[in-house]
């Protein structure tokens, strides 16, 4: 069973629908006892960092997630779920989980492309340049694009952890991988076939960095 962490951060049913389509059973829950029965955990989320962290603390899910990551079982962060894995977010000046060293920054208003100011949020389809082979991103074409919608982006302290870069007037980290943890800024559940491929790969993944 795939556990989807519910921390009142947006509508989590789209991830569940994508998993059902792939024939995977899943549970959306905020109960550590139920989630502890899962083989894999997805940590999704849409919304603001401040409220998300407040909800995580209130339900003690913050400690549970950190413990789960330490146990070495596979974890996939999506969008806001990815951002709160870092130490700090400029959004609502929020102290986050600190599982990965680094901060989450707001896109600058000065970003430009062809002398035109870029709009914020970064919303729509963009490429991800994957840096190395990883079981979760296997079988993804270089031409594949993914659906993004965000105004903040993760900036890990150790750039060697970045597994995918995206260009939006600047290069930012769109995917990160460390041991049993994979986290993406885009929405695989809304990115058509390549996104479904990533979810399917994740559900098969044992949590090892390289296979």
């Amino acid at each position: 069973m795939i556990g989807i962490v519910d921390y009142r951060a947006g509508n989590l049913t789209s991830v569940a629908r994508a998993l059902s389509y792939l024939g995977k059973s899943c549970k959306i829950s905020d109960d550590p006892e139920i989630l502890s029965q899962a083989s894999h955990i997805i940590f999704p989320g849409v919304g603001a960092a401040g409220e998300a962290m407040a909800n995580l603390r209130q339900t003690n899910m913050d400690k549970w997630i950190m413990e789960w990551v330490k146990q070495g079982k596979p974890v996939l962060g999506i969008c806001l779920g990815t951002q709160v894995i870092f130490e700090y977010s400029e959004e609502n000046e929020t102290k986050c989980l600190g599982i990965i060293p680094g901060v989450v920054k707001r896109f600058s208003r000065d970003l430009q492309e062809d002398c035109m100011p870029l709009k914020i949020p970064h919303m729509g389809w963009n490429n991800v340049a994957f840096q190395k082979d990883h079981p979760v991103f296997r079988g993804i074409s270089d031409e594949a694009q993914f659906y993004f919608v965000h105004s903040y982006y993760p900036a890990p302290a150790d750039e060697r952890l970045v597994i995918g870069w995206t260009d939006y007037g600047m290069l930012f980290c769109a995917a990160i991988a460390r041991e049993n943890l994979v986290a993406v800024q885009f929405h695989p559940e809304k990115s058509g076939q390549p996104g479904l491929q990533i979810l399917a790969n994740f559900c098969r993944w044992g949590g090892q960095d390289a296979e």
């Binding site: 849409v46 709009k119 809304k190």
Partner: protein, 259 residues
Amino acid sequence: MLSKRIIPCLDVRDGKLTKGIKFKGNIDIGDPVEAAREYYEQGADEIVFYDITASSDGRDIMIDVVRRVAETIFIPFSVGGGIRSVEDMRRVILAGAEKISINSEAVKNPPLIAEGAKAFGSQCVVLGMDVKKVEPGEKCPSGYEIVIHGGRVYTGIDALWWAKEAEKLGAGEICLNSIDADGTQQGYELELTHLISTNVNIPVIASGGAGKPEHLVDVLTYGKADAALIASMVHYRYYTISEIKSYLQGHGVKARMTW
């Protein structure tokens, strides 16, 4: 860099597809879920549903349509038409839509934009604007006026002012429909699209007038639109979405070519 999005628009009434030409003489073209699947497979980047159902029974049918669409396609889609409250938005979003769009209702009740943005985030709230060209004057200095109720009622509101105001209130995107161009298949209203898109910092979807792939190139380059809405040109099978995208790509417009 982002791809320009190609978005087919499906009009739905009582759970069945229609296609309005200048908002009159709608023709039934079938099941919205099947149409969504077809366009998803053709490479649509997003899908817009516009529900023109009047009755409350019809609304429940639409929620069921949204639910079935969400189980079938894995790209974002939005639903507009008949959304009057945060509660209406919640039903549609929980049924699986990414975004809701509000048009006449936002004009009559602007705080609805802010309430929706607060409840679900700006990225969920699309402002639909129906616009007609008018003589520039004191009332509408930009020369574009907001009309509501499918283009029948003039509001006296300047389109440029309203676009900026909606952005301030928290709209995450604007779907800009030219009533003059709508249904003509003679091309988008480029001046209007350029004016709005270069004066707000949220994405603008151009709507109304698409008949040929070159119309999309024009509105996505000169018009500075972030996305283009299409209807008849794909509904009547004159073109497939993948053909349109190949054409864009061949004319220097970045499109998503793998799906």
